[in-house]
């Protein structure tokens, strides 16, 4: 039982990070119908930035408490990520808004490779240890353990999600975002500036990715230039799983995916009599995705949309 509880805790932590990243994908997709392949790389840049900032702070002000360092580095990383995502949209996606659909997808992939390469040049391609800034002694919860970092991840995710929901549902900007994703042209007629809304969406997505990036780094303890790829892919899967374009769907999809992965990889060995091991964890996401989409082609919470050419 405690093994099961442990897998659930790990799954929730993993899933909440997926949810944060998935929100960035789903918001962008909801508004401009683009799979922002570079989203995972924004996460990576944020994590590496926070690593550099923490390194600098540990050298210059060694007395600072760990949580404060993490917070400062998170803020700086968010600013960097937001600026980066804003620039990416402006340079690589905006000029192509009326082009064939595949064109921005290719530039997105190009930006993703470019960012990885630049990160390799700036930060060198080795794995860097990310310092443990919060207390390392874990708490006991009914036979399972949970670390301070994991508690922080769950807390930060909950707060971010609450803030985002408030922003989208109860502010003027949120209303503009919802209107633009419904129909950009009509929204523009009603006095919404789509360009501004799109930029805001990219900035918000980047901040969420930055939070997820710093959490990822502190949970796994390493950072490197290709760390954004797999979480990005899984988070996109989560977004599709929940029904892309739907914010609640992204959160539900992310958390479910985290749980499925962690419980699945924990028990697959038992279930198959040791034939398949936990190294198959990475394909769970995709198998679940294929099954779900086959049964429910628009995702768990997606609305049925008629295929428009």
């Amino acid at each position: 039982m405690d093994v099961f509880l442990q897998q659930v805790i790990n799954g929730l932590v993993q899933g909440s990070m997926y949810a944060l990243i998935a929100l960035g994908y789903t918001m962008v997709y909801g508004i401009i119908n683009l799979i922002n392949f570079a989203h995972g790389e924004v996460l990576m840049v944020a994590a590496l930035t926070s690593w550099s900032v923490i390194g600098l702070m540990q050298e210059s002000m060694p007395g600072l408490p760990g949580w404060l360092m993490l917070l400062i580095s998170l803020i700086i990383a968010s600013v960097v990520a937001a600026t980066l995502n804003f620039a990416i949209e402006k340079i690589a996606y905006r000029p192509l808004r009326n082009s064939p659909k595949l064109a921005p997808l290719i530039t997105a992939i190009g930006v993703s490779i470019l960012l990885q390469t630049l990160a390799m040049i700036i930060w060198k391609p080795n794995y860097k240890p990310y310092p443990t800034l919060l207390s390392a002694t874990p708490f006991q919860v009914g036979g399972a353990v949970i670390s301070t970092t994991q508690i922080m991840i769950l807390g930060v995710t909950a707060i971010s999600l609450a803030l985002l929901m408030w922003l989208v549902n109860f502010t003027k900007l949120g209303r503009a975002m919802r209107a633009t994703s419904e129909n950009p042209r009509v929204a523009a007629l009603m006095g919404v500036r789509p360009d501004m809304v799109i930029s805001a969406t990219f900035i918000i997505g980047a901040v969420l990715a930055a939070i997820a990036g710093v959490m990822f780094a502190s949970n796994y303890g390493t950072v490197h230039h290709s760390m954004g790829f797999l979480p990005g892919l899984k988070a996109f899967t989560a977004a599709v799983f929940g029904g892309i374009g739907n914010l609640t769907g992204a959160v539900v999809g992310g958390i479910l995916l985290g749980l499925i992965e962690s419980i699945g990889s924990g028990y697959i060995g038992h279930l198959t009599g040791g034939v398949l091991g936990s190294h198959y964890a990475d394909i769970f996401a995709f198998i679940v995705l294929i099954v779900v989409l086959t049964l429910r082609p628009s995702g768990l919470m997606g609305e049925r949309v008629a295929d428009r050419a």
Partner: protein, 361 residues
């Protein structure tokens, strides 16, 4: 075809035939680059059927390439022979299937995989299809990586080696050959084989494009609902496009395995799928000359840069090496070309017209 066009075609043909003999003088590495470029052309033309004609974004194309390559690798290397005594008993001389068995098998298996993947997923909308195919590619790669236990089938991350070179009609492409006193290297022989295959594939592809099926695919690409209303069986046609594309992928995979003599799951990463899609889109979606141009450009140019990157590496204190420079260049090319020419370097006229009309509406 008028006279000047004829001369151009003949000149191009002669150039393509002489090219490896000239490159050979500078070293076999240059011919290898040409070989790989031809393989990528093969893949890009195959994917063009799926993405370019039928408009189905497939981000897991490399899976079919892998299926073909592993088919060849397993049936023509000592791996199965050494691992399974039963097979050793069946083929006392070692498992060396002839090309005529492996290539059709590989192509058929890849085509079957394509249909299997396509059957449940083809009713999905564009982007969902993209992510499902991407997931499928990853699944195949993870299986190749892990199927070394409990029964060692793929030899895991170590891959298969000592794969037989391609040989047929008593000609072994793995060894150099003397033709009237002139020495033709093994890579050059492969070049001619791949060139012949590429020409054959382009011919099939072109005939498909102007056929009833090709027109149906393009109708689906432009507007699926309208195509359905015109009485096209869109599901079967889409499945066919998937199967066809996968078959070409499988054949190229088999060629790749024979050419390299070694394969491992590393060669079949998602990045590879993305590169092939980029080749098709950069060159010009659905336009054969454009696709060929895109494939040659993206595969050969960065390789050539590898040879001039040395000085740059010493200048930047080892931070920028050849591999990084290559990646940087590919990324920049993808962004810049798309920004300047969103329809690709060499788009088809017809497609362009239809799109302009749509934008104007």
């Amino acid at each position: 075809m008028n006279a000047s066009q004829n001369t151009k075609t003949i000149a191009l043909g002669v150039l393509l035939l002489v090219l490896p003999l000239v490159l050979q003088q500078f070293g076999n590495a240059w011919v290898r680059i040409a070989d790989m470029a031809l393989l990528y052309v093969l893949l890009a033309v195959g994917l063009n059927i799926v993405v370019g004609y039928a408009g189905l974004l497939d981000l897991g194309y490399v899976a079919f390439f892998a299926v073909g390559a592993y088919m060849y690798g397993l049936l023509a290397s000592p791996h199965l022979f050494e691992t399974f005594p039963a097979i050793a008993a069946m083929f006392p001389g070692g498992l060396h299937m002839p090309l005529w068995v492996i290539v059709p098998l590989g192509a058929a298996l890849a085509g079957l995989f394509g249909m299997l993947l396509g059957a449940p997923t083809l009713k999905l909308r564009g982007d969902y299809l993209a992510i499902v195919t991407l997931g499928f590619g990853e699944i195949i790669r993870v299986f190749l990586n892990n199927l070394d236990q409990p029964v060692n089938i793929t030899n895991g991350p170590k891959g298969l080696n000592q794969i037989d070179a391609i040989h047929f009609f008593g000609i072994n492409l793995g060894k150099k050959m003397d033709v009237m006193g002139f020495e033709v290297a093994s890579v050059t022989l492969y070049y001619y084989l791949f060139l012949a295959l590429v020409l054959f594939t382009i011919l099939i592809s072109y005939r498909l494009e102007i056929s009833r099926i090709g027109r149906a695919w393009m109708a689906i690409r432009e507007d699926e609902i309208a195509a359905k209303a015109m009485g096209l069986n869109t599901r079967n046609l889409k499945l066919m496009a998937f199967g066809m594309g996968a078959t070409f992928g499988g054949i190229s995979g088999a060629m790749f395995a024979g050419f390299q003599g070694f394969i491992s799951p590393e060669s079949f990463s998602l990045m590879e799928s993305v590169m092939i899609v980029a080749m098709v889109v950069l060159g010009g979606l659905g336009h054969l000359p454009g696709v060929v141009l895109g494939a040659v450009l993206l595969s050969a140019l960065p390789e050539i840069l590898r040879y001039v990157a040395g000085p740059l590496q010493s200048m930047t204190d080892g931070r920028i090496d050849a591999a990084i420079l290559r990646q940087l260049l590919i990324a920049l090319a993808m962004i810049v070309i798309m920004l300047m020419r969103p329809r690709g370097l060499w788009p088809s006229h017809e497609h362009g017209k239809a799109l302009q009309a749509k934008e104007g509406a």
